[in-house]
């Protein structure tokens, strides 16, 4: 294995070093990860035992056939050697051998098929376990985890790496077992029968195993690099199509085609290299195999001629070789799939072993809402890995029926603050309480049921409008959904759609505009009838008049909620009971609108700026809206 590793290291250009998974096969981690994977399969001991027994049986019956065939040749040939001829006995013998051959083949085939099926079934079961564990783990990892792990990468782990692991369990393990059994039992059998011919017929095995191992590892590495190139190609084509307006606006057709050619050409060359590696190794391996066969024919043939070996024996050696050839060559595949399973397994276990930072403390109780008072006391927060405080000394109180406005420049900490309340992140210092209960001491389930955070950008699922709005509470009654969409000023629009609430989001021609998406987001936040609702810049794309109606409806319908509004447009905040102005993570001004205007500080300056006659005259239309209104 060490030679393989060093070979691969040297085969790699140094610039690939930054991509450890792609650049080489991790030989050191292999035993540990493959061992852990195998243990996953052993959780199905009966199935695993059955699979191994079938593999064993198949190997034994496989090894019987050469003997039977050799025997048949000898039976047929006997007359010419001895000169004695007993037709009836020989007939009977031939017939018996023939029946034995059919029987052996039948048993061998059945066991091979069963072994294949059991192997796949175990791998599928392990795949089932891993899929669920992976899914569940990701659901419970906190936001800071998802901030640092790219969703595309997580999806790749859940799909590709899972397949890589499964493929190894499906074939890799059993192939190794089959090979070891065939080689072990078979060698013993042929070496016992004839040492010289036995050694000759096994002579190709070490060489082929060596070459196949090398090939498997090399192919793995090139495969990884090829995948990387192909995903670059995908990205390139996808962006070109998504940005077709820009491509055309800049008349960049030839530039884009040149870029495509460059990437595709590189991928083409690499895949040609793969073929050279694979076929180069394959033909050398076949040459070795046939050379060994030539030696057997030569020495065996001479000994048949001088009478020290029967033709049947020679046939037996030859058929034995042809049986052994396939599994020996598969060593390449096993090495390849082990290498893949090693890197895939590591990537998968990395996630499965991760611990969520935010979870219920032992004995956490459900949040009990009485007055509905939310309080932030001396709260400070810094993002993991950052030394700078994103929030410092925040003291805020808002209670049911009241509204708090938050304003500040981008990066002043507004959204960070919003994320602390449903505990997407935990405060670094100070505490957040709801009716006196520290939110870290209550269950996440009950906390998040009481707090709705409505974000600026809504994530829509590929399902009906109803299901998207009722995402929080899939069992919500139609009336509750309509109530929510009515407050969000979206019901009228949905009612005009031919399929109403059953319209599938994203279906051709019914894409929603930015403002409509935001209103949908608000409706979604309202369906669960939260006690605290936080609107994080979620009205920016809604025109001012509609926004006013949304605010009025919010006030009328649900005066039992505590509301936090984060907005750039101050007109959206001016009716709030209290407004805080954030700068660099600190509250620098606070008070109600009148008070802040009177104070003549930053808020007043921003108000003046936004209310100059040359302020907005904006419609917040979606650029595609026009194309879709009809």
């Amino acid at each position: 294995m060490n030679t393989v590793a060093s070979l691969i290291m040297t085969a790699q250009p140094p610039q690939q070093a930054a991509e450890p998974t792609a650049a080489r096969v991790d030989v050191k981690a292999m035993p540990k990860i493959l061992g852990r994977l195998t243990r996953l399969a052993l959780r199905y001991p009966i199935w695993s035992g059955a699979a191994v027994s079938c593999a064993l049986g198949a190997a034994v019956f496989n090894l019987i056939t050469p003997r039977l065939l050799g025997q048949a040749v000898d039976q047929a040939h006997h007359l010419l050697v001895d000169g004695q001829f007993n037709p009836a006995a020989t007939h009977a013998a031939l017939l018996t051998t023939a029946l034995l051959i059919v029987g052996t083949c039948a048993v061998r085939g059945t066991l091979t098929g069963l072994q294949g099926f059991l192997g796949e079934a175990i791998a599928q079961r392990v795949g089932y376990d891993l899929r669920l564990a992976f899914f569940q783990k990701l659901q419970h990892m906190s936001f800071s985890f998802h901030d640092t792990n790219h969703s595309g990468d997580l999806i790749a782990r859940g799909m590709l790496d899972l397949e890589g692991v499964r493929g190894f369990l499906e074939t890799g393990v059993l192939r190794v077992i089959t090979l070891v059994l065939l080689l072990g039992v078979g060698s013993w059998q042929v070496l016992r029968a004839d040492l010289q011919l036995g050694l000759l017929s096994l002579s190709f095995v070490p060489f082929v195993i060596w070459r196949a191992t090398q090939m498997g590892a090399l192919l793995r590495v090139t495969w990884n690099r090829l995948q990387e190139m192909l995903s670059n190609l995908t990205l390139d084509m996808e962006e070109n199509l998504q940005g077709s307006r820009v491509v055309r606006a800049f008349a960049s057709r030839s530039f884009e085609l040149a870029k495509f050619d460059r990437i595709a050409q590189a991928a083409l060359e690499l895949s040609n290299r793969r073929i050279v590696i694979r076929m180069g190794a394959m033909s050398v391996m076949n040459l070795a195999y046939y050379s060994a066969m030539a030696l057997v024919l030569f020495f065996g043939g001479r000994r048949v001629a001088d009478g020290s070996l029967t033709v049947g024996m020679l046939t037996e050696f030859l058929t034995f070789m042809s049986i052994l050839q396939q599994p020996v060559r598969q060593v390449g595949m096993v090495v390849n799939s082990s290498a893949r399973a090693t890197s895939s397994g590591r990537r998968l276990f990395e996630i499965l072993d991760a611990q969520p930072e935010i979870a219920d403390v032992p004995g956490a109780k459900n949040l009990v809402i009485d007055q509905g008072v939310l309080r932030l006391e001396n709260v400070a927060f810094s993002y993991p890995g950052s030394t700078r405080n994103a929030l410092t000394d925040i003291n805020i109180e808002v209670s049911a029926g009241r509204t708090l406005g938050i304003v500040g420049a981008p990066g002043s900490g507004k959204s960070t603050l919003a994320g602390l309340i449903p505990r997407f992140y935990d405060v670094t210092a100070g505490r957040i309480t709801i009716d006196g209960q520290d939110i870290r001491r209550v269950t996440l389930q009950s906390l998040r049921r009481s707090v709705s955070l409505v974000q600026q950008e809504i994530f829509l699922f590929d399902t009906s409008i109803h299901n998207n709005v009722a995402y929080t509470d899939p069992w919500a009654q139609e009336e509750r959904v309509i109530e929510a969409t009515s407050i969000a000023q979206l019901h009228e629009h949905i009612a005009t759609l031919p399929k109403g609430y059953s319209t599938r989001v994203g279906e051709r021609g019914v894409s929603l505009s930015g403002g409509q998406r935001q209103r949908m987001s608000i409706a979604r936040g309202l369906v669960s009838q939260p006690d605290i609702i936080i609107l994080d810049d979620s009205t920016a794309a809604i025109d001012a008049a509609t926004e006013q109606r949304v605010r009025a409806a919010l006030r009328d319908a649900v005066n039992h909620m505590a509301t936090i509004i984060i907005a750039h447009r101050l007109s959206a905040l001016k009716d709030a009971d209290e407004i805080v102005f954030l700068e660099g993570g600190r509250i620098v001004e606070r008070g109600n609108h009148q008070h802040l205007i009177g104070a003549g500080g930053r808020y007043a300056a921003l108000w003046a700026l936004q209310n100059r006659t040359d302020g907005y005259l904006g419609t917040a239309g979606h650029p595609l809206e026009e194309a879709q209104v009809s």
């Binding site: 047929a76 023939a98 039948a106 493929g167 793995r220 895949s271 001479r302 750039h568």
Partner: protein, 620 residues
């Protein structure tokens, strides 16, 4: 194993991109398409430029097949030589054998290498043709198609065609191998040959019965795994929403159902693929038994050499392989036919907007724009613009103002000839846009979209997108001019900062500034700008406002305007409603006219949607 869940075997096959994209393909239309000869013909067209490769690959395959058939044949002679029933010496036979195995090794490499190279080249050309074609297809067609679907064709369909092509040359080899073996078996001994081959129809029959049954299972497995993967991907992409809405338990339950269904489907598919193994083995055993009994008798009777019997044993073990690969190739062919069909569908998308022969170039330094009686819409009988007439004179800045749906964006798209007007003429620099070469039009007319689109890559590459030859100094100058330089320099890598996922790491305002810099660097003679207001905070907005002044200066500009400042500075304001011009003039004129614009201006409304009602009243 057609199900091929594992992939990756032998160093690859399948692959992520291919498989996941294939999942995105509409599933209903996949498998049962018959092989259409027209597709073969058209595909053949792509082989044309590589004809030599094809001939070479085919010859190599034939030679390789011949060697494969010959090797067991020499085994026969070496056995016969050993037992002394042959006149040819063992050493002679074995030197022939030696020559054959060297040839075997060489030809195996050559045939595989040639046929793979051929397949890859054809696929490269095909994909490139699709990609190039999509660059020319009109936007009205592209708008109707989801990028995901196109990508499924560029990736998934091209991938399954590639799989087919890579295997088809060797499939031809397998066919010849089968014929070769049959010929040799019959040639060595007609009776024994016929008897041995009698299991062949049984095998073919078994496979023919098996394929349709297994296909259903394989398909179910494929579909269920694509729905499992889709559910996983959706949950990961929307994980914040999932957690915000406490959907973890509900989603897990739903996912468990899908995964369970997938497990059952996969086990079903594995049953289907493994059930063939004993069948093939039993038939192989039967054929061997025939050789033993009938051949053994003949050897006993002295009518057959023992070498022939041994050779039969070798051939019988070989002839099941080609049958298996051929039937696999048949399934692959059906899938490839469906893919080919979808690929040519893309290649057949009509190109409605193309240069006329001998098109005009725009040479004027500052061309103007003119709309003459332009009527246009996206759907038949639903015009969005009605007989529109207006002109933007050279050096003028014209502001388009109007509520959502009034046709502003359509006007800008027509100037760039993204679409063709139904009636009337759109003129740029005194020429009908249909007479101007697209290249020249693209260089003349710059466009800034409301939602800026950035490509993955560095900030530097994004700014010089329109002028790929621009050097760093030019790029920085443009960024400084539009006030993007400061925020760019705040990144540790400055202009070399990589934009992840199309600039998701930038705020919308910052993305807007980058797209301004990009437009400025391209130095368009005409600038079309869709002003963005939404989602931008007041702080960034000021920077944008000043950048705009730089951008608009010294060229002909048409702005879809939302800011009063931009509108007031315009030389001409066109107020649109439902595809018609309701009012036009400059700010002062419109104010003096005491019409709609002045009412709008004096009201304290800060959004244009608010005037939709008065406008409607005015129109009525």
């Amino acid at each position: 194993m057609i199900s091929s869940g594992g992939g990756g075997g032998g160093g690859g096959g399948g692959g992520f991109a291919d498989r996941s994209m294939r999942n995105a393909v509409d599933q209903g239309e996949e498998i049962f398409t018959r092989f259409d000869s027209r597709i073969v013909q058209r595909l053949w067209g792509f082989f044309g430029p590589h004809r030599l490769y094809f001939v070479a690959a085919l010859s190599a395959v034939l030679l390789f097949t011949a060697v494969q058939v010959a090797i067991p044949y020499t085994v026969r002679y070496s056995i016969d030589a050993s037992v002394g029933t042959s006149t040819i010496a063992l050493t002679t036979v074995l030197s022939v054998f030696g020559g054959l195995i060297v040839l075997y090794a060489i030809m195996q490499f050559v045939q595989e290498w040639l046929s793979s190279c051929l397949a890859q080249r054809v696929i490269f050309d095909l994909r490139r043709a699709m990609f190039a074609h999509l660059q020319d297809v009109s936007l009205s067609l592209l708008d109707q198609t989801q990028v995901g679907r196109l990508m499924a064709r560029l990736q998934g369909d091209v991938g399954s065609l590639q799989e087919f092509l890579e295997n088809s040359v060797s499939a031809i080899g397998d066919l010849f191998l089968l014929i070769g073996i049959i010929v040799v078996l019959l040639g060595m001994d007609l009776k024994l040959g016929l008897l041995t081959l009698s299991v062949l129809p049984l095998l073919v029959l078994a496979r023919a019965l098996w394929i349709p049954w297994a296909k259903v299972k394989f398909r179910r497995a494929r579909e269920s795994s694509s729905s499992v993967n889709a559910a996983l991907a959706e949950n990961i992409s929307g994980i914040r929403t999932v957690q915000e809405n406490r959907r973890e338990a509900f989603n897990f339950e739903r996912y468990t159902g899908l995964v369970q269904e997938n497990l059952e489907a996969q086990i079903g598919s594995s049953q289907a693929s493994q059930i063939m193994v004993p069948a093939v083995d039993i038939l192989t055993g039967a054929a061997l038994a025939i050789v033993v009994v009938v051949g053994g008798e003949a050897v006993l009777g002295g009518t057959l050499g023992v070498g022939v019997m041994v050779a039969y044993i070798f051939y019988v073990q070989r002839f099941f392989d080609p049958i298996r690969t051929l039937s696999m190739q048949y399934t692959m062919m059906q899938r490839a036919a469906a893919s080919g069909h979808r690929i040519f569908e893309v290649l057949d998308l009509p190109i409605t907007i193309a240069d006329r022969p001998d098109p005009v170039e725009i040479t004027q330094a500052t061309p103007g724009i003119e709309f003459r009686n332009v009527t246009f819409g996206y759907r038949p009988d639903q015009p969005v613009l009605h007989a529109l007439n207006f002109a933007v004179k050279p050096h003028q800045t014209v502001a388009l103002v109007g509520p959502t749906g009034s046709g502003k964006t359509s006007i800008t798209a027509l100037i760039h000839r993204f679409y063709e007007a139904w009636e009337g003429e759109v003129r740029v620099g005194g020429h009908d846009v249909r007479d101007i070469s697209l290249e020249s039009l693209g260089q003349t007319v710059g466009l800034v979209l409301q939602e800026p689109f950035l490509f993955s890559g560095s900030i530097y590459d994004n700014i010089r997108y329109g002028v790929t030859g621009a050097d760093k100094a030019d790029v920085i100058a443009a960024a400084v001019a539009v006030r993007a330089h400061d925020f760019i320099m705040q990144f540790p890598d400055g202009y070399d900062t990589q934009l992840g996922q199309r600039g998701r790491n930038l705020s919308i305002g910052q993305r807007q500034l980058l797209s301004f810099a990009r437009a400025l660097l391209a130095k368009p003679k005409i600038l079309i700008l869709d002003e963005a207001t939404a989602n931008i905070d007041s702080f960034t907005e000021q920077a944008i406002q000043q950048a705009l002044k730089v951008l608009l200066n010294g060229r002909t500009c048409l702005v879809i305007a939302h800011r009063l400042a931009t509108i007031r500075d315009a030389d001409l304001i066109i107020v649109l409603e439902r595809g018609r011009i309701v009012e036009q003039g400059n700010h002062d004129e419109l104010l003096k006219r005491r019409g709609l614009y002045s009412r709008l201006h004096s009201s304290s409304h800060d959004s244009f949607d608010d005037i939709a009602a008065p406008l409607a009243a005015y129109a009525a």
